[in-house]
Every structure is written in C-alpha cells, then in structure tokens.
Assembly symmetry: C2
C-alpha cells in the first residue's frame, strides 16, 4: 500500500500518475484540510475537491481545480447581495459543498462524507482528510494582520508578504480514522509536490504524523514542488523564502529533511542535486512537471523506484532522458 | 399603514395589488416562517422568497414561486450523491439561500437578513418574518407518521390525509421586532388569501398575535383562499375538511371568525354570502382570483374599502361587475 500526503493540484496529478501504475485500491491519499473554509454557510474542502474532480476526470483542465464546463449563475446572483464572491463556486461544484454541508449538519464526520463523495464519483483511490477536527491555516502578513488561508490565497492572490503561518486547531486535532494506520503500514509514503508550507505543513502539524514519518524516514519520498527556483503553481517559492528558507530544490530538501529520506527533483535542477544530498536527503532527478498523464505515470514509477535507496549519488530516474 | 398576514403565492399577489393602490412604504407584510426548512445546510424561507421575488418582478410566472429563467445545475449535480432533490433549488435562487445562511451563521437575525434581501431587490413593501425564532409546521398523517411541512407539501405533494397540525416552537417563539407594533398600529390588518391552516395558522400561533387581532377584529379583513369549494392553490381545501371544518368560504369564515371582522369572498361564492354572515363575519363579494395585476389592484381596493364595515348585508365591491 502507498500513502500520499496531499495538497491540491500537484497532489491530484501525482495521484493520477500513481493510479496509472499501481492498483488504485492500494493508494491512500491523506489530504490537507487546513485550507477548508466555511462560506455562505457551506463547508468547503478545496484540496479534497480538487483531488476528487481530477481523479474522476471532470476537473477543469484550464485551472486544475473546479469542474469542467462549469456555470456561475449562483455566484452572479450573489453579487446582488454584496456577498463575498471572490471565492468562485460553480453551480455544479456547489452540489459537492451542499451535500458535504448537509451531511456534516446531520452529524456525519468529514471522513464519512469524503468516502461518500469518493464513492459517488467512482474513485479507486481512498481519500482521507488529515483530520475530522477543524484545522485552519492562518497567515500573519507583513502588516501584522492575520488572514485565513483562502483570503490569502484567493482574495489577495498570495501577492502579499507573509511573516508567519500557523495551523489553528492543529494542537488538538486528532488524525482522521485510518491516517496514522496508513502512514505506518504503507510500503512507501509519498509527499506529493504540494506547497510544503501550507499544504504539507498542516498535515505534519496533526498529532502523530511527523513522529510517524520521522520513524520511517527511509521510505518517505517527496517530489519537489519547486522547479528551477520557482513554484509550478501558487506561492510555495515566496513562502519558503519569507519563512526563512530557500526557493529551491535544496530548500525543499532542508525543509523536509527531518522525515523525508528521498527527494525527487526536476531535471532542470540537476545541478543542485549535490546540495540536496548535502541536506542529508537522497536525491533522484527526473521530469517532474506533470503536463501529461504519461509524465505523471513516469514520475510515479520514479517515486516508487526511488524508495529504499537512502544514500548514494544522484541517480537518473528510469525513463528519464539520459538514463 | 396596512399590515398583511402572509403565506406565499396568494399573499405575494395580494401585496402586488396593495402596492399598486397604496404607497408601498405604508405596507408591512408579516410573513409565515413555519414552512422554513434547513436543506443541505442552507436555511430556506419559502414564503419570504416567494413574496420577495414576486414584488421584485422576477418570480417564475408559471409556478408563482422561484425565479424566472432559472437553471438547475446544482440540483442535477446533487443527484450523483443520492441527496434530497425533491426540493428543487434553482442556481440563481441558491444565492438567496447562501446569502441568508451565511448571514445567519454570522449571527444576524432572520429579520435583519430579510431587510437586507428586501433592500437588495429594491422592495418598497416592508417584510417582517413572523418570528426570528424557529417555528416549524409539522403534520401528523393518517398513518400517525409526523412529517415536516416541506415533506408534506413538496415531497408528498400534499396528497395524503392529515390528522393534525402543530407549530413546533410556537409556544416559545417571540414575534419578530416590529410585528406586534405593526399589527397594533395598522389602520387595517389584511389576512391574505393564503392557506388558513398552514400559512396563516403559524403566524396566529406566535405569542400575542391572535390576542392583538382579536382586540381589533373590526378592522381585520381576510380574503378567502377558497373559491367555489376549492383552494386556488395547495391543500387548503383538504386541510380544512381533514381538520374538521369545511372547504368553503363560510368554512373559512368560521375558521377565522374569532379575529376577522370581514371576509372578502369570490363572486363564485355569492350564494353562500349569507352563511358567511351567519358566522358573525361581515361579507364582501368581489373577484378574488388574481389572474392579472389589474384584478389584484381591484381586490386591494375592495379590501381597503371593506374595512370599518362590520355588519350589514353582503355588498358588491366597488369595481366588481354588477356594482
């Protein structure tokens, strides 16, 4: 069994690749819920939805999130009331939030609803929210104002300086049923190429997760979300720098080194592979930009093959040009 | 100032007529919230919305409720989850429920949200929910099962036998701010042609309302929702019979006689006018089927003129054929 720590778009593509090369029933995604938010009374789980829609093959390919062919009549009508409309909820997407919210109000747990939604979309991969308890990522900006994740990410388009990040509720949040079991019993734990600070960070903050990964560090493989010094998507590069790290593959290695034995970095970063190794993290070089299903599947093979090798020189991945 | 006790469609048309002949700012609608329901985590106020959409001129003319030109993409998408979809929520209509629910969760009262929604639609009439506290109409069916109003009305299409009706929460619900003041200070209180049992009944069940109306019975004018022995819309006829009354204009008179001084009945019922008077209720005969704005306005004039006359023989209304 393979366990995958997941943020949104990058993780969704990683899972697509993994399920192309491994029986989907053998894959468990442990998904960040620090981005979850309540809006217009609805409970919204952006990362869970992005992954679900991607695995179901209905994601909007232009954005990597939301549904393909979506309409926005409800949002348009909300403008009349002067309500928050910077968080765009499509009409069909609303059904997911309505169903989840209705079930939560009936007393179901987020895990239970996630399973129901996964089943409705016919997913093979098993998705677990990191916790059924609320954890909310909050960011302190340079002006000392603290904002919720979606306000930072969507409303402010993450183009503001962040001074610090905290995961409200993480200190008391219990891992959702099955999370620690999956992270303990998996042959490999994959850290998807998601934002290490605000997508992987909240999962690590849930009680027991970091300890579990640290204990099995040699079989934990991460894929760097930073390629050639920049995040493929979102503010991972900025955040790494703003929080005192480096926006580079070695920066990611140093950020994760306590519990990640191997880091897969992009070919574009081959020249800094030694610097990754210097952080005490085994380094594998491979194409990591999952522009196509084929690249995602190749990356999945690389990730699975990388496991077990915790020291040694940088290696070219199987299937990578030049190998 | 004119106060109007309101259910949904019939009341919405009555208000349309009244605002055509009286300054809308002089009209206060006290609206039934016994039909309100929570669905998919959303707070839904069907009667308030029907009235709002009608007064804003955007109601679906085919149904008398919901928005014209509506789409149902969210509902369609909800079917995937096996969620309740017999209560059809249009995509644009969802915005109203999202806004209301969001504001209620922020701590606003239903009165406050109603005012905000009214303002957003530019309504002249002032709408007050009967109460900011929850009152839920529940119906015991012949098989002793008790169902919520919307389940009876929408899911079961009110084609089941009702043994009794109760208004859960009414015993402790306080009238919303302004309700008793409006009912006390209005020159006339109009009881709209709404279902006397399940639309007007919940309003009467709120503390102080019946007492207030009884004390000023002579200036309370109702319009019969029963024409020629049948309800124009919905199950008012069935309910009156099932609860031991009569599905007739005199049946309505007897049902309301404790606090209604005058009943306006349709021309089709002219032959039972004496029976209405026999119930101790002054009777006015006029066209009451508001098929057009003109008929609604004429009916409004009749209602306003009827006030003050509490005894005497049946009179033809001004503007009515034959008058």
């Amino acid at each position: 069994m393979i366990a995958v720590l997941c943020g949104g778009v990058g993780a969704a593509r990683m899972l697509t690749g993994l399920q192309a090369v491994v029986d989907p029933g053998e894959i468990v995604g442990v998904v960040n819920t620090g981005d979850d938010t309540e809006l217009h009374g609805l409970y919204i789980s952006p990362d869970l939805d992005t992954i679900t829609y991607t695995l179901a093959g209905v994601v909007n390919p232009a954005t990597g999130w939301g549904l393909e062919g979506e309409s926005f009549r409800a949002m348009q009508a909300l403008e009349r009331f002067g309500a928050v409309t910077w968080f765009r909820l499509g009409d069909a997407d609303l059904a997911t939030h309505l169903y989840r919210t209705g079930r939560l109000r009936q007393g179901a747990t987020l895990s239970e609803v996630t399973q129901e939604i996964s089943r409705a979309w016919g997913l093979g991969v098993r998705l677990l929210p990191m916790s059924d308890d609320p954890v909310r990522t909050r960011l302190r900006l340079a002006d000392s104002q603290e904002v919720a994740f979606q306000e930072y990410f969507v409303k402010l388009r993450h183009s503001v300086v962040v001074e610090s990040v905290r995961f409200e509720g993480a200190e008391t949040a219990r891992p959702a049923p099955g999370v620690l079991e999956a992270l303990e019993s998996a042959e490999i734990v994959v850290v998807a190429p998601s934002n290490p600070v605000v997508s992987i960070g909240p999962i690590l903050a849930v009680a027991g997760v970091t300890k579990c990964l640290t204990a099995r560090r040699d079989s934990v493989v991460a894929v760097s979300p930073i390629v050639a010094g920049a995040a493929l998507k979102g503010p991972a590069d900025r955040l790494l720098v703003e929080l005192g790290g480096d926006a580079s593959a070695p920066g990611v290695a140093r950020f994760l080194s306590a519990f990640v034995g191997t880091l897969v970095i992009d070919q574009a970063d081959e020249d800094v592979a030694a610097e990754v190794e210097a952080a005490g993290v085994n380094c594998v070089v491979a194409p990591t930009v999952m522009r196509t299903h084929e690249i995602a599947a190749d990356l999945a093979r690389t990730v699975l093959a990388a496991c077990g090798t915790v020291t040694g020189p940088p290696r070219a991945a199987p299937g990578a040009p030049g190998s």
